[in-house]
């Protein structure tokens, strides 16, 4: 129990450090939210300065950080200058849309990666292994952006899939069933892009873990006793290979989230991606900070969950 409390405590410290570091980085970048107005020929310098004063941008960085932190802890997550509203009012719905992509993508990726990785591991050094190695290496090397663009091109050229967004314009007039089908058709390509970017690395990890576990003395002994391949895999190899994979699972939500931000922008998916990109470009500091905190919290939570899982399933860690 003490170990768990200590782990949660260190997670809070990590999140605090992330917020300070992110704030400092944003502070170091030149300009602020109202800098853009300087190019507007209708607006005088005095008017821009008055806006800076009105929205507290002339206060010291320490004061501004403190004000954000207070608002964050209170649940408003700060104040978005772009939306002139609390960050919480603009971020949660989009976060839901992002999770609508990333959670199924993660489940799908693991569902495919585990059997594929085991299957390839059992064919180590055979042609299947060599071909899969080539394919996964190529896919790992492909930038996420390129994968998304290629899929978008496919949609545009074939007309088989929507070219962006979450619903067809006017879908709000449809019945529930048709709306769900419309949603699935829009989510299909972004999901494919996410799975295509995450799956190859995961397959390679599963393969490597399974091959390593297959060399363990217990597995060799089991094999010596003439136990069947499938029984050995289920009873001995997978439990032995689980440790690194559980740790990897903890990271995969955060990995998919970062890939998702990019894919959302390219495919106009209304998640956190376009919001964060806009906020970064506009230097909407509170929105960027709170979005970073959300992503970091997911990463930390994923790691924490993985650690706790290992703590429960692996007696060596409890010892």
């Amino acid at each position: 129990m003490t170990a768990v409390a200590r782990r949660i405590g260190s997670s809070v410290v990590t999140l605090f450090a992330v917020s300070v570091f992110s704030f400092a980085l944003l502070e170091l970048a030149p300009g602020d939210f109202f800098t853009e107005l300087r190019m507007d020929t209708r607006v005088s310098t005095q008017a821009v300065d008055a806006l800076r004063e009105q929205y507290g941008l002339t206060q010291s960085p320490a004061v501004r950080y403190w004000l954000w932190l207070q608002s964050f802890v209170a649940g408003d997550l700060g104040f978005s200058l772009a939306h002139r509203a609390p960050v919480s009012s603009v971020i949660w719905e989009r976060a839901g849309n992002t999770l609508l992509l990333t959670v199924p993508a993660m489940l799908l990726t693991w569902t495919l990666a585990l059997p594929l990785g085991v299957w390839i591991a059992r064919r180590k050094n055979q042609w299947v292994d060599r071909v899969s190695s080539g394919v996964t290496s190529t896919l790992v090397a492909l930038p996420d952006l390129l994968v998304a663009m290629l899929l978008l091109l496919l949609a545009l050229r074939t007309g088989l899939f929507p070219t962006g967004g979450m619903y067809t314009p006017g879908a709000e007039d449809l019945g529930t069933g048709a709306r769900i089908r419309d949603l699935i058709s829009h989510a299909f390509l972004p999901l494919c892009a996410l799975v295509a970017t995450a799956l190859p690395a995961l397959v390679r990890h599963v393969r490597a873990s399974v091959i390593e576990a297959a060399q363990a003395p217990a597995v060799l002994a089991a094999r010596g006793h003439g136990i069947s391949h499938s029984r050995i895999t289920l009873r001995y190899v997978l439990p032995l290979a689980a440790n690194p994979l559980v740790s990897l699972a903890g990271l995969s939500i955060a990995t998919l989230l970062s890939a998702s931000l990019l894919i959302e922008v390219v495919m106009s998916w209304p998640g956190l991606g376009p919001l964060v990109v806009e906020a970064l470009l506009a230097k909407d500091v509170h929105l960027v900070l709170s979005a970073s905190m959300l992503a970091s919290a997911l990463l930390v939570a994923g790691n924490l969950a993985a650690d706790l899982t290992l703590y429960v399933v692996d007696p060596r860690i409890r010892a």
């Binding site: 970048a29 030149p30 300009g31 800098t35 853009e36 107005l37 300087r38 190019m39 020929t41 209708r42 607006v43 005088s44 310098t45 008017a47 821009v48 008055a50 806006l51 009105q54 772009a82 939306h83 002139r84 509203a85 009012s89 603009v90 719905e93 989009r94 849309n97 545009l156 007309g159 088989l160 899939f161 929507p162 070219t163 962006g164 967004g165 979450m166 619903y167 067809t168 314009p169 006017g170 879908a171 709000e172 007039d173 449809l174 019945g175 048709a178 709306r179 089908r181 419309d182 058709s185 922008v265 495919m267 106009s268 209304p270 998640g271 376009p274 919001l275 990109v277 806009e278 470009l281």
Partner: protein, 587 residues
Amino acid sequence: MNRFIGSALVVLLSALTVSAAVPAAITPGEEVLVEKATSGNHGGRLVVALRAEPRTLNPAIAADAPSREVIGRMIADLIHIDRATQATEGALATEWKRSSDGREYTLKLRKGIRFSDGRPFDADDVVFTFQVLLDERTGSPNRDLLIVGGQPVRVTKVDEYTVRLTMAQPYAAAERLFDSIAILPRHLLVEAYTKGAISNMWAVSTPAAAVAGLGPYRLKEYVAGQRLVLERNPYYWKTDSAKRRLPYLDELVFLFTGNEDAQVIRFQSGDSDVLSRASADNFGVLVRDQAAGRYQLKDLGPSLEYNFLFFNQNDLTGKNLPQVAVKQQWFSDLGFRRAVSRAIDREGIARLVYRGRAVPLWGNVSPGNRLWINTSLPRQPRNVSEARAILKASGFSWRPDGALIDRQGRPVTFTIVTSSTSAQRTEMATLIQADLKELGMGVQVVPLEFRALVDRVFQTFDYDASVLGLGGGDADPNGEMNVWMSSGSNHLWRLGQKAPATAWEDEIDRLMQKQLITLDYRERKRLYDRVQTIVAEQLPMIFLAAPHILVGARADLGNFQPSVLDHYTLWNVERMFLRPESRSVRR
């Protein structure tokens, strides 16, 4: 998957008779504006893809383009600029009279009309609107426009349907001031204004019933990150020639796409019906695909936007920028600027950067601005040998390796900073780099994130030269006061002047001030022609090119009459309609 989309579309098509607000009957005494040459059919939905999500629905504070694009369809102004003729016309004001000294305007307001929530409009709304806009606490980008002769415009109610606007001095083309200034509903906003919270009103997530305007559409629905839907304002004060209330279209749907490429893809795939402005590259792609006949594309010719190269001539006292200060000896030399101007291939820029869909510029006014361009400005094509002669006469010389050096023997090298988000301006800078290499100048192109660029140009002055663009607003020269007045906030090459630094800037100051209070168009034109001549001679900015306005719309959209003035495509959205034979067939 295709079957899924197909079934979704079938249901969608059957639902295309949108349940929208039914136009209210015209009441006795309601002074509607009859659009005489307008006819069309009611019904249907128009989908427009926006590059970014609007930040607010509050007309008093909106500064970003997507917000203005949406708000522009929900509001009405007192006097409007007709985008087709570029002339003013009555809108909420049916007539107006200028006093003999030109300082006072009396406006008669349209009687019996209503806001989109059904509440009546009168002079109190106009007085309230100007009170809000002129209040510093509001932070309105329109406030400075309403300060004339150093004094805010004073707006008083004469009677329920008459207001008087008084200015400290005569103001040329004062009517144009009122274009796009939304009249606000006092009944909805006065409480927030009294509490000092007006600038936080009408976020995009505000419930539809709490937002009202006098424009053709009103808020129906906002879905975060996805779309904003406007529905017909049933009380809109314009009718067609058959006295049927406008607008024709039931709904206007704005999709949020995130960037220009996504916007074009959604248009190409038929998800959106109108493309408000495309780059030359994207337009070229669409032209190739146009054969299918699914959409109409229009090249409207040169926009009012002017792109230019300028050198840092700011006073660097206290800035600790010795490396820039040294180069300012060249930048402030007229011979140097003239040589650079003569060496730049503007035709090449128009051809290569804009694929021929731009015009070369020799002055600050684009040919798209028919009322104000000085057509007598000389158009000097690229001439490298003449440029070299000008440099030689200014004391520059060349090393044996061809590098240009100044009188002190220092090689002439400098950087051009541009915005990394504008591919066109970076390409222009790269072409200039190549052109100036032939003069022996060493030029580096440095694309910067937009805020970093603005910070350098306006705040730190840590740059040598830059390629930027301005314009695109109103055609009238008054919109350029901040650029050409030596004390102006956009007097880019030398900001923050307390007194004009040069005799020619002093002359421009006097000319701009004079045209501001001159009421006769021909005299104003003469004065502004002189400004253009001085600018072309002194070259504080070296003008490069004005891109064309490139737009598109679905082929069956009636009354689609895009304009070179903003908003290019939706300015007459109340008159647009879908031809009946195609209404039920979305691409």
